[in-house]
């Protein structure tokens, strides 16, 4: 096990892969393009995580510290991989900081990019300050400032959460379900109701996909304990009536147009392919699937495989993924990479 395994990306999947390899003495080179480790939960300032309810800074913070303190993991932050040459079992990777490492295999944990709501202009993001994203509300909560209207700082009496913003929408070329937004929104709705008991929260949906056990913990609980209201309607337009943000659409169950004022409108933004996936595809020689995520090899033959032998992938790089599953996939990729490292030795 003299050669190192290269892990690209320091989010939940990458940290999990690095930690798993290090736990059995395998040397790891962990490359992160940002200045700090932790990935989206840390960089975007998520609040309480699903399903543990732990603060992201604490839960993911533990993973970061464990990687930083490990003797087997060499961390390069503010660094990218610029070139990967060689064969499975004997790759050579050039890093942007000038280092060159010899690695037996590569794990891509390059994650995703949040959907940018300005690409859906009819829903008012960017034209009115009180239209925000789930990520911004997470930040309001995690920073301790609390949920408020950015326009004047007041506490909202009525909040709308719009689901499937940047998901399941052929008009903007994003046909996939981002998988986590329903659960995240139900969780946020409960956090808002907990902080502001007099504030009503409405969720506008096409379908609710709080899959598996999240059904009871998030969808049912948000209704039964927190009286969050779910309305089946895809909003047509978000405007401003001079005082509050106006939501226009059709209430599909009443078959009537609605035009309802809200203090705060939240976009439940989806997960896009990492904006740098074209570069990643070129540098690592891996194919992308039609939506732009990294193409996975059939799971039956090679768990965590890509189109290139010796290069593995884990987490939201292959499509929308939860934090828990990204962590599990990180360990699966570590096992696959380890097989490669051991055979090569």
């Amino acid at each position: 096990m003299s050669q190192s395994v290269l892990v690209v990306g320091g989010g939940p999947a990458g940290l999990s892969a690095a930690k798993s390899l290090a736990s059995i003495g395998q040397n790891v080179t962990l490359v992160e393009k940002e200045e700090i480790l932790g990935g989206a939960p840390i960089l975007s300032g998520y609040a309480k995580l699903v399903p543990s309810g732990e603060w992201a800074s604490e839960a993911i913070g533990r993973m970061v510290r464990s990687a930083e303190n490990s003797k087997s993991i060499k961390v390069h932050t503010s660094t990218k991989v610029t070139e990967l040459t060689g064969e499975p079992g004997n790759f050579s990777a050039k890093l942007s900081n000038g280092t060159e490492v010899s690695v037996s295999s590569v794990i891509l944990a390059t994650g995703f990019t949040h959907f940018d709501s300005v690409n859906k202009p009819e829903w008012g993001f960017g034209s009115h300050p009180d239209v925000v994203t789930t990520t911004q509300v997470e930040q309001m909560i995690s920073s301790g400032k609390g949920v408020h209207c950015p326009s004047d700082g007041r506490k909202p009496d009525r909040v709308a959460i719009l689901l499937c913003v940047g998901s399941r929408d052929r008009q903007i070329g994003r046909e996939w379900c981002s998988k986590i937004c329903c659960t995240v929104s139900a969780n946020l709705a409960m956090e808002i109701r907990e902080e502001l008991p007099k504030c009503s929260v409405y969720i506008y949906y096409m379908d609710i996909r709080t899959f598996g056990l999240y059904e009871g913990q998030y969808y049912w609980r948000s209704q039964e304990e927190f009286k969050v209201k779910y309305i089946k309607a895809r909003i047509a337009e978000v405007t401003f009536d001079g005082k509050r943000v106006l939501l226009k659409g059709e209430d599909t169950l009443v078959k009537r147009p609605i035009s309802i004022p809200f203090d705060l409108v939240v976009h439940a933004i989806g997960m896009d392919p990492n904006i740098e996936n074209q570069d990643i595809s070129r540098v690592f020689g891996v194919e992308l699937e039609p939506h732009g995520f990294i193409q996975r090899a059939p799971a039956y033959d090679s768990i965590a495989g890509t189109s290139r032998a010796g290069v593995y992938v884990a987490g939201a790089a292959v499509g929308p993924e939860t934090i828990d599953d990204s962590i599990a996939q990180g360990q699966a990729a570590a096992m696959a990479a380890l097989g490669m490292a051991t055979n090569a030795a």
Binding site: R158, P197, K198, S200, Y202, W220, Q223, E224, K227, K229, Y230, I231, K232, D251, L253, V254, R256, P257, I258, S259, I260, P261
Partner: protein, 246 residues
């Protein structure tokens, strides 16, 4: 010339004027027909609280609109406009005007409880139907139903004496609902009673009509029941008047 599209518009949304002058332009006649918007302009957030304050309505916030209640409904099989699923939705979102359009049929629930047995979320729709009817009465949208008069007479007698006396209930019920006491079926029943001559029974009935006996030690029970009712009604009153925060 009649405008046939008018038939597509809810009559209450049509605004007609025999004579109308706008900015010195005479628009009398058909040109003065206007249509109120169908658009729902706001949610009445107190409505859900109001209806859940009535017995049976406590679980409406659980509803996810699957429609199992309406599908299983005995009355819906006869009258497709009888739609508990829809009314629960209107109550939750506070679409009061929409709800009042159906006030003449909401109370027609026969309490077969099939909806309550099929509901996957334990909303207890049968109870919601009761709550809706009581809400309509309390808000003065519908007059008290006959069964409501009967219930009131029944529990008032219980409250006073701890007992019921059938003759008094029947008399007062007819009195409250403005019906004559001389009902053919009642006359036949009394005649049969006299013909059969159950002397002791008639003697007891006569006695209790005159003296109205009470259950032993009833005053204590009466006091605590009254207290409970008063407490509940006060809570409900607060909510109906909109003084109750969520």
């Amino acid at each position: 010339m009649p405008i046939h599209e008018e038939s597509l518009i809810r009559p209450e949304n049509l605004r007609k004027h025999e004579e109308l002058n706008i900015d010195n332009v005479d628009v009398s006649g058909h040109w003065s027909t206007f249509i109120e918007t169908r658009s729902v302009a706001d949610y009445n957030e107190n409505l859900e609280r109001e209806i859940s304050a009535f017995p049976g309505g406590a679980y409406i916030h659980r509803c996810w609109q699957c429609g199992a209640c309406t599908n299983s409904c005995t009355v819906n099989a006869i009258n497709p406009d009888f739609n508990p699923r829809y009314w629960i939705y209107l109550a939750r979102l506070g679409m009061e005007q929409e709800l009042l359009r159906d006030k003449e049929i909401i109370w027609q629930c026969v309490s077969c409880h099939r909806c309550t047995h099929v509901c996957p979320r334990d909303v207890e729709p049968e109870g919601v139907m009761k709550a809706l009817s009581h809400w309509l009465e309390a808000k003065g949208h519908t007059p008290k139903s006959q069964s409501q008069h009967f219930d009131e007479e029944f529990y008032q007698q219980i409250l006073e004496t701890g007992k019921i006396e059938e003759g008094r209930i029947v008399r007062n019920f007819f009195n409250r609902t403005g019906q004559p006491l001389k009902q053919p079926w009642l006359i036949r029943m009394v005649k049969n009673l006299i013909r059969g001559l159950p002397i002791m029974l008639m003697f007891k009935m006569g006695l209790s009509t005159l003296f109205r006996p009470k259950t032993k030690d009833w005053s204590k029970s009466k006091h605590s029941i009254e207290e409970l009712i008063e407490m509940r009604e006060l809570e409900r009153k607060k909510i109906l008047e909109g003084n109750e925060a969520s």
